[in-house]
C-alpha cells in the first residue's frame, strides 16, 4: 500500500489537510484499512460525512476517485463491465467473408469491452480510491457481485479470464442502514460506525466550514442541534443541515441567536412540518406565522 502513513495521527493530519476532521476512531480505522488491505464499511445516519470521508481520502492520497453509486436494480452491466454490442456488430458487418473463429476471438477482446466502475478501479495503473456509495440500496442478490472484488480485488470475465488488480485500491462502502447488508459482505469489511458528531467535533466542523461565524454562535448552534437530535422526530438534523443553518443565520444578518431567531429559522434545520411543530413544542418555542402551516 503506497501510502506513507505510519500512524493514525498521520491519517488524521492528512485528512485534516483535505478538509475532513477525523476523530480518533475514524483515523484508527482508516489506518487499519490501509495496513490490512481491507475495505471500510461506513454506516450511520444520512449527512454525517460518510461519502465525504472517501472524497477526502482521495484528496489526501492524491489518488483518483472511482465512484459506484448504488441503486435498486443495479446490475453487472452497470457495475462491472459490458460488451459493446454496437461496436461488435459493426466489426462483424465490416468483415463479412472472415472466419468465425477469428472473429470470435476478436470481438470479445479489450477494444470491445466497456469498463464500469468496479473494473475501472481494478484495472487502473495507479491505485485509486473506490467509493461504493449507498451499498444498502442494491438487492441482496446484487451484493454478491461485490464480493469477488472486495475479497480478492479481482474480476472474472468469462471471455477474457480473471483480471487481477495491479495496485490495491482503498475501498470505502457507505450505507444508510435502510437494510442489513449480508453477513458475507460485512465479514470482509472493517466496520466504521459514524454517528452524529459530538458537540466538540461539530463545533470544530462549523468553525472550519463557516469561518465567519461568530464564536458564541458556534457553541449555541452545536448544542441546539445536539439537543434537537434527542427528540424523536422523523428526520433529525444532519451535520450538513447545521452548516446550512449557520450560513442562513449569517446571510440573514441575525445578531443574537435567541428563541425567536431559532424559531423563525427552524425550517432550515428540519424538513418536515410535523418535525418543526414537535421540536418547537419540545423547546417551548413560539412559531411565528411564517413557519406555521397554511
Amino acid at each position: 500500500m503506497p501510502t506513507n502513513w505510519n500512524s493514525p495521527a498521520d491519517v488524521r493530519a492528512a485528512l485534516g489537510d483535505a478538509g475532513y476532521l477525523a476523530d480518533d476512531r475514524i483515523a484508527q480505522v482508516v489506518f487499519l484499512a490501509t495496513r490490512l488491505d481491507k475495505p471500510i464499511l461506513a454506516e450511520g445516519p444520512a449527512g454525517v460525512g460518510k461519502t465525504a470521508l472517501a472524497l477526502a481520502l482521495a484528496e489526501a492520497t492524491g489518488r483518483r476517485l472511482v465512484r459506484l453509486q448504488c441503486y435498486e436494480g443495479l446490475d453487472e452491466a452497470k457495475a462491472l463491465y459490458e460488451w459493446d454490442y454496437h461496436k461488435q456488430l459493426l466489426r462483424l458487418q465490416s468483415d463479412e467473408g472472415a472466419q468465425w473463429d477469428d472473429l470470435e476471438g476478436d470481438i470479445f477482446s479489450e477494444p470491445f469491452l466497456l469498463e464500469r466502475p468496479l473494473l475501472t478501479a481494478i484495472r487502473s495503473e495507479e491505485s485509486v480510491v473506490l467509493l461504493i456509495d449507498e451499498a444498502d440500496r442494491v438487492e441482496v442478490e446484487t451484493e454478491a457481485l461485490l464480493l469477488e472484488v472486495l475479497d480478492a480485488y479481482q474480476v472474472t470475465i468469462p471471455e477474457l479470464g480473471t483480471v487481477e488488480a495491479t495496485t490495491r485500491p482503498i475501498v470505502v462502502l457507505t450505507s444508510n442502514n435502510t437494510r442489513e447488508l449480508s453477513e458475507a459482505l460485512k465479514r470482509r469489511c472493517l466496520y466504521l460506525y459514524v454517528p452524529y458528531p459530538t458537540i466538540e467535533r461539530e463545533r470544530a466542523i462549523l468553525e472550519m466550514r463557516v469561518p465567519d461565524l461568530p464564536e458564541q454562535f458556534v457553541d449555541r448552534i452545536a448544542r441546539t442541534v445536539a439537543s434537537i437530535r434527542k427528540i424523536p422526530i422523523r428526520k433529525a438534523p444532519s451535520v450538513s443541515e447545521s452548516i446550512d443553518w449557520a450560513l442562513t443565520l449569517l446571510a440573514l444578518g441575525i445578531e443574537e441567536l435567541d428563541d425567536a431567531a431559532t424559531a423563525s429559522t427552524l425550517n432550515v434545520l428540519l424538513k418536515y412540518q410535523t418535525d418543526i411543530e414537535r421540536t418547537a413544542k419540545e423547546l417551548s418555542l413560539e412559531l411565528d406565522a411564517e413557519t406555521q402551516p397554511e
Partner: protein, 473 residues
Amino acid sequence: MISALTEFIDELRAVGIPVSMVEAIDAAEAIEFTELGTRENLRATLGATLIKNSRHFDAFDRAFDVYFGLEPIGEMEEGSQSDTPSQGDVWAGGGPGGGDALLDSLMDALLAGDGDQLARLVSNAVDRYAGMQSGRPVGGRYYAYRVLRRIDADQLLERLIATLGSSTRVDSIEERIQRERAEALVQQVRDQLEQEITGRMIADRGRRQVAANRRLPLVEDIDLMHATRLEIAELERAIRPLARKLATRLGQRRRRGSKGRLDVRRTIRRSLGHGGVMLEPQFKPPRKSKPEIVILCDVSGSMATFARFTMQLTYAISAELAKVRVFAFIDGLDEVTGYFSTNTDFSDGLVAMSREADIVRRDGHSDYGRSFTEMWERYSDAVTSRSTVIITGDARNNYRDPGLEAFERIVDRSRATMWLNPESQRFWDTGDSVMSGYSIACDSVDQARTLRQLEAFVERATLPTARRPRVGV
C-alpha cells in the same frame, strides 16, 4: 494479549453477537497495527473488526470495559467493613458534614474538567459509602446506588444548573442547553463510579464473572411485551429500517421475469440504427404492483407495549406504501388510519387514537370474535383480492366466541393473511388463547416476541403470487 482477546470474544458470543473465526483472526492481526498506549485505540480496532452492526456497540462497550478497563484506584475491603474513613481523603472536612464537602469538590472537578481529581473523589466516595465487601453476593448496581444516595445526584444536578446558568441572557433554549450540559456532567460522575466499582469487583471475582453479571440482552433479544422504557426507546430506533424493509418486500413483485412485456414498437424503432437488426429488445416497464395492506391490531392492556411497536411499524409502512389501512381493536373495532398519516407526529397520533378511537364497547378486555365480526360488517370493502391482512395479537379471547365465521370470510377475500403473535409459542392454546382456531385459515403464523423474530418474519414476507385454494372448515 491473545488469551485476553479470545476470552473477550467468548464474552461477545455469549451475549449473542455473532463473531466469526475470520473476524477473530482479523482482530488479532489488526492489534499488531494498533498503538496500545491508549485504550480508545484498542476499542476502535476491536470495534471495527469484531462488531458489524451498530446496534451491538452498547454490549461491546460493556464487555470492553470489563476486559480492557482501567484499573480501579482503590480496592475492595477484606473481611468486615471498617467505619473509619480511609486515609488521604481528598475533600476537606469529613465526618457528618462530609457529604456537602464532597459535593463541592465534585462540582469543582467537573467544572474544571479535571478527570484525575474526579476519579480520586469517586474512589474515595466508594471507600466510604459503598460498603463493598469481598465475596458479598450483590451486583455493582447495588453499590452504585448506595454511593449515589449519599452523593445526592439530584442536588448535584440542581447546583450544576444553577452555576452554569449564570449568564444574563436566559431563554428557553439556553435553559435546555444548560440543563443538558449539567446532565452530561452528572453522567460523568455515574460513569466514573461504575468504572471504579466494576474495577474493584473484577479484582475480587475475575473478569469472566463480572462480565456475565453485567450482561444486558441485545436489542434484538428484548422481549417486546415486557420492554422497559429505556429499551423501548432503543427498539423504536431499530424498528424504522425494519418497517421500510417490510414495505419494500410487500411491494416487491417476484423478481424473476419482472422486466415486463416486450415492447415491439420501441424494439423496431431502436433496430433502425443497426440496419434493421433487432439488437436490443426493448421492454415495457413492469407494472408497478400496488399492494394494499390491512392491519388489524389488538391494543388491549396486555398488548399495550407490543401494540406500540406494531403501530410504529404501521406508521413507517404507511409512509412507504399508499394503500395502508389500520384498524385497532379491543372489544370493538375502529379504523385508525387517519391518526398515523404521514403528516402527523407518531406520538401525537398514538395519544389521539387512545382518546378518540371507538374500540372499547364493554369492559375493555379483548374480544376477537366481536372485533372480526365488526370488521366484516363495517369494513368488508377494505379487504380485496389484492390486500394482505396482517393481524397482531395474542389471540387471548377471554373465553368469548372466537367469531371464526367472520374471520374466515375476511381471510377468504384477502390475498394473504399473516398473523403475528408476541407470545411465546409454548403458551398458545393455553388458557383463553384460541390461536390454533385462527391459524388454520392463515397463510402464516409467526411468533414475534423479539425484534429478531420480527426481522425473520420480514425476511420471509413476500406475497404469494396467486391465491392458494383453502380448505374450508
